[in-house]
Symmetry: C2
Subunit: 318 residues, 2 copies
Amino acid sequence: MSTIRVPEEVPTPIQDSSRLNQAFQGWGTDEKTIVSILGRRNATQRREIRQVYQQVYKESLIGRLEAELSGDFKNAVILWMLDPPKRDAKLANEVLKMKKKGVDHLKVIIEIACATSPHHLMAVRQIYCSLFDCSLEEDITTYISSPLGKVLVNLVSSYRYDGEVIDMNLAKSEAATLRGTIEKKQLDNEYLVLILSTRNIYQLRATFICYLQTYGNSLYQDIKSCGSSDLASILRAVVWCIDAPEKYFAEVVRASIAGIGTDEDSLTRAIVSRAEIDMMGIRGEYYNANKISLDNAVLDDTSGDYENFLMTLLGTRA
Amino acid sequence: MSTIRVPEEVPTPIQDSSRLNQAFQGWGTDEKTIVSILGRRNATQRREIRQVYQQVYKESLIGRLEAELSGDFKNAVILWMLDPPKRDAKLANEVLKMKKKGVDHLKVIIEIACATSPHHLMAVRQIYCSLFDCSLEEDITTYISSPLGKVLVNLVSSYRYDGEVIDMNLAKSEAATLRGTIEKKQLDNEYLVLILSTRNIYQLRATFICYLQTYGNSLYQDIKSCGSSDLASILRAVVWCIDAPEKYFAEVVRASIAGIGTDEDSLTRAIVSRAEIDMMGIRGEYYNANKISLDNAVLDDTSGDYENFLMTLLGTRA
């Protein structure tokens, strides 16, 4: 469930565009107005505002926001204003082209491949090609060496069946296959990769339950016991994103604000990309795991317009 | 280039539907009228006729054709009347569910994965899920064992960049990678599969040229020298479909009518699925390779309404 609060009576895109244009005028920018409009419109409404703004003011709204805003606030608003598939294509591309990318950065690609709908993933791949003149798979192959690259290619190439069809016999036999490969510590085993990248989400969740019931440990724990290689770390994220995306993103938020300093990129990504999908559930999971509210935790680590924008996406600012 | 001859003044879908409905009435069916209408309409026009026919006569046109026609003629007309992505999804599913499927049958899947547009392949995968309640990749995994199954999953999962972007240095280095795996007869090597399933078609053609220039043999010939395993046979089809689809399909037609008896399923599939894409080129390649015209060869091996329908798709019947 979404946390953004779209007003009951939504202004027309022309009215919104006009108020945005006013917010850009004169000395300084009226950030509060920008947040109160854009932070309370869904993806379709934001797209309409972008289109109408372009028609009326003959300039790109995103370009204007780039010029008017700054810092983490700017980054968050721009990500929020991109169409979701385009946003994810850009995030994936940024991560792949980073000079020093750790395995944590690559989790962005896992999130896109395993915690969004098959239809969304396909749209990301299409727009990736049109933005960057090569396929997402090609860039993964270029920038990430095997076995990690091979596993990522398989995951982003998936187009899982979207229905809730479960075959319990298959779940049992595939739990056994997974266990066999884990016992041999063969994390790049082709069957393991095939199962995780082709089966539908509900089937995989049933397989994970069979695994736990039969072997006493969860698949996640068993992968953890295979060591701390990059591949093990990526596969744990895969299992988590498939099994419990709300818990996974609660942990992304927690890790981004834990300790001294904040990883604003991760915090922004988690809130912007899930606000319209399952942020209500992520909030619940965050409280269960950490015994403080996600909203208070984010408040403690952010400030100013950036804080105001995230809080608006979380639905706690009127 | 297409070979079908759409009339300069196309009747409306209502007029076409009415004439089709008349052709179904009374004693016997007027097959000639059916062929003269449906064999001379493009995919969009056929879809409109289907929709209008359903609205006006409250029955499915395809269902009615199933009931009225028979044999190879019926199969060809039904395949022609399905939307192209749906047709290919059904062909792939039939092949996977065959009890005794030889490697030749599996080439249908290679054709869909390597000799159609990335957009078409994606549409096939989407409709496959909605028709069969599981993904194409899952069915491949279920019915085809590895290494063949793994290679097929990679190929159908591809979404290649659709533009003509070529990097000659990459072509050289990947030609060397391919040569290395071929020399070791490692046809299921992960890099070989990654290259063939992720690179864009123009890039791969450049790689194949580099391969030939550097090593004296074509990649196709070198795979052939690796033996007659199913995997070698499939990979030859992959290289051929990518490098020269018109030559590939000319050979499908030749093989389907060679010797005693005819493989009508393959003949129908080749002509129906390529009539609107590149049948003009296939005809040219057929003549180059066999020194007789494709039309005459097909005429020799077919008869009756089936012959009339194929000839109409080939554009040689007025």
